[in-house]
Symmetry: C2
Subunit: 340 residues, 2 copies
C-alpha cells in the first residue's frame, strides 16, 4: 500500500482543529462523562479518589470515551447508555495505566521512576482493581449482555497483550508481526471495543458493528505506533510524553526493531547492550536517536501509522457521509499528527 | 450472644470428615471446575498458565467454588451455570492473591519475601488482570445479568476493602468495628456473592437469596477471623499457613487489637514499635505471642469466629433440612476448626 506521509511540520492550530468537530458534536456528552467519572470515583476510602483523580483528572484527551460517544452518535443512538460505557472505557484504560506503572525490584535498582514512586506499588494496583470493578458495574447498568461480552473479551485480550509485551520486552529478535500483534492486543483491543459498543447499543446491523470495530482496531494501532515513535522524537517533548522512557526500560518498539534490523554489526551490538542487557550510560539515548535517524526508524513507524490510519478511515465507508463521520475521520488525523 | 468455644483440640480425622459431605455431593462438579480452570488458564502467552498454575493448582481447598456448587445444589438448580460461576469465583480470588502479594520498595528494603520475589511484581499484576477478565468472560457466558451485577459489586467492594486495609494497615487505633468492616469487604463479600449466585441461577425467591447471602457473609467473616488468629498460632504451622506473616508486615488484625487495647503501657509501646514503626528484632514474634496469650487475643478472635459461624448456620434456617444443607453447615465447622 502506497501512502503519502504528510510533511513533518504542521501548525499547532490545525492540530487543535482536528478535535473541533468531535467537541462540537459530543462535547455535552463528554461533560456528562467527566461528571460521572468523578461521581463513580467516590469512596469512603479517600485514597481511592485521591490517587485515581491524580491520573484520571489530569488532563488526558479522553480519546477512548470520545470514540464511544461518536460511535453511538454515528449510529443515531437515542438512549443514555453511551455515557456509562464511555466512563467504563476510561476506567479500564486508567486501571491499565496504574498497573503498567508497577515496578519490579530490578527497576528500582536501576532507579527507574514512575508515578508509583509517589504511591508505592501496592495502592495503584488495588485502586486499579477498584476502577476495573467500577467499569464492570457501569456496564452492568446498561443491561446489555453483548456489551459486557465485548468489553470482557477486550479486557482479557488487553491483559494477555500486556503479559506478552512483558515477555518480549527486551528481545530484539521480536518480529515486526509479533510486535504488531502485541500492540493490537494491548492498545487496539480497547479502542476497538470502545467503538463497537456504540453500534451494539444502537442495535445496528452487523456490517456497521464490524465497520466501527475495524475503525477502532486501526486507529488504535496507529495511535500506539505514533506513541512509540514519539518516545524517540525529542523535539516533541512539549506534547506531554517524556522522551526516552521506552529506551530506558529496554522496551522494544517498532522504531528500534527497524533500526536494529537495518543496522551495522556495531549498531546491533549497541542495541543489544542498551536494550537487552540494559547496560546504559547517559549519552546512549542521543546515540540511539542518531541510529534511528540514520535508518529512518521514526519516520517509517509513522508511515505504518498512516497506513493503519487509512484503513481506519476506509472502515467507515459503510456509513453515509455526515458531520459525525467527518469528526471520526478527523480523529484519525489528530492521533497521527501528534507525531509532528 | 453467648457461644460455647469448642475445646482446643479435636482429632485430625474429624476435621477431614467435615468436607466429606460436600465432596460426596459436589465432587463431580468440583472436578469439572478443576478442568475448566485449567482450560481457561490457557493462553498463547505461556507465562500466564505457568504463573497462575503455580498458585491456582497448588492444592487450595477450593472453599469458594465449593460454596457456589453447594448453594446451587441447595436450590435444586438443574442447569450448568454453576460450573462457570464457581470457576469465575476462584479466578477472582486468585487474582486478588496475586495482587495482594505485590510488594512496595519498603517491603523490599525490609527483606519481606512473597511469591512475587520469584516472578517480580509486574507479571503477577498483569496475570491477575487476565484472570479477572477471564472471570468476567465466564460470567457473561451464563447470560444472567443479575449474576454479573452481584459479582461486579462484590469485586468493587473487595477492591475497596483491600485499599481500606492498606490505609489502616499499621494503625493501632483501628477499632474492632472498623476492622470487621474491612474483612467483611475484602473477604466476606466474595464468599457472599459465591453463595448468592447459587440462588439467583436457580430463580429462587428473595428470602432464599438473602439466606444464602447472609450465610456467605458470616462464613466469610469467620474464615478471615480464623486466618488472622492462625497467623499467631505457632502450633498450627503444619496447616499450611506461615506463622508471623501479618506480624512482620505490621498488618493490624483482631488478635493484636484485642491485646493492644487490654495491654499495659509497656505492652502498648511494644506493639507501637513493632507494628506501627515496623522496628522488629528476631525475638519480637515470640514476645508478641506471649502478650497475645496473656490477653487471650487468639482465643477471643476465635470466639468471634464462632459467633459468626453460628449466624452463618442460622441463615440457612430458611431452607428445609437436607444433606446439602448439612454439608454447608459442616463447612462452617471446617472453616473454624482450622484453628484447632
Amino acid at each position: 500500500m502506497s501512502v503519502t506521509v504528510p510533511p513533518l511540520r504542521s501548525d499547532q492550530r490545525q492540530r487543535a482543529d482536528r478535535l473541533d468537530g468531535a467537541r462540537r458534536l459530543v462535547g455535552a456528552d463528554l461533560e456528562r462523562v467527566n461528571v460521572l467519572i468523578l461521581e463513580r470515583l467516590q469512596s469512603e476510602v479517600s485514597l481511592i479518589p485521591e490517587l485515581a483523580r491524580h491520573l484520571i483528572a489530569s488532563g488526558g484527551k479522553r480519546v477512548r470515551p470520545m470514540l464511544t460517544l461518536l460511535a453511538a452518535k454515528l449510529c443515531d443512538y437515542e438512549g443514555e447508555a453511551q455515557i456509562a460505557l464511555a466512563t467504563a472505557v476510561e476506567f479500564i484504560h486508567t486501571a491499565t495505566l496504574l498497573h503498567d506503572d508497577v515496578v519490579d525490584e530490578s527497576d528500582l535498582r536501576r532507579g527507574t521512576s514512575t508515578a508509583n514512586t509517589i504511591w508505592g506499588n501496592k495502592s495503584p494496583v488495588l485502586v486499579g482493581d477498584f476502577l476495573f470493578s467500577r467499569a464492570f458495574q457501569l456496564m452492568v447498568a446498561t443491561d446489555r449482555m453483548r456489551v459486557l461480552e465485548i468489553l470482557a473479551n477486550a479486557s482479557a485480550i488487553l491483559a494477555e497483550g500486556e503479559v506478552a509485551q512483558l515477555v518480549t520486552a527486551n528481545d530484539l529478535s521480536t518480529t515486526e508481526d509479533a510486535y504488531l500483534r502485541v500492540i493490537e492486543a494491548k492498545t487496539a483491543s480497547l479502542f476497538k471495543a470502545a467503538c463497537e459498543v456504540g453500534a451494539v447499543i444502537a442495535d445496528r446491523p452487523a456490517v456497521e458493528e464490524r465497520g466501527l470495530a475495524d475503525y477502532g482496531t486501526h486507529i488504535g494501532i496507529a495511535f500506539q505506533l505514533v506513541d512509540d515513535a514519539l518516545d524517540y522524537a525529542a523535539s516533541q517533548a512539549e506534547l506531554g510524553k517524556t522522551v526516552g522512557d521506552d529506551f530506558r526500560e529496554g522496551k522494544i518498539t517498532l522504531p528500534v526493531l527497524l533500526a536494529y534490523n537495518a543496522g551495522s554489526s556495531e549498531e546491533r551490538a549497541f542495541w543489544e547492550r542498551t536494550m537487552e542487557r540494559l547496560d546504559q550510560s547517559e549519552v546512549d539515548l542521543s546515540q540511539a536517536q542518531a541510529y534511528l535517524s540514520r535508518h529512518q526508524g521514526v519516520e517509517q513507524t509513522i508511515e505504518r501509522a498512516c497506513q493503519h490510519g487509512a484503513r481506519a478511515k476506509a472502515a467507515l465507508d459503510v456509513f453515509p457521509s455526515s458531520p459525525v463521520r467527518d469528526a471520526l475521520l478527523d480523529l484519525v488525523d489528530f492521533c497521527i499528527e501528534r507525531a509532528y
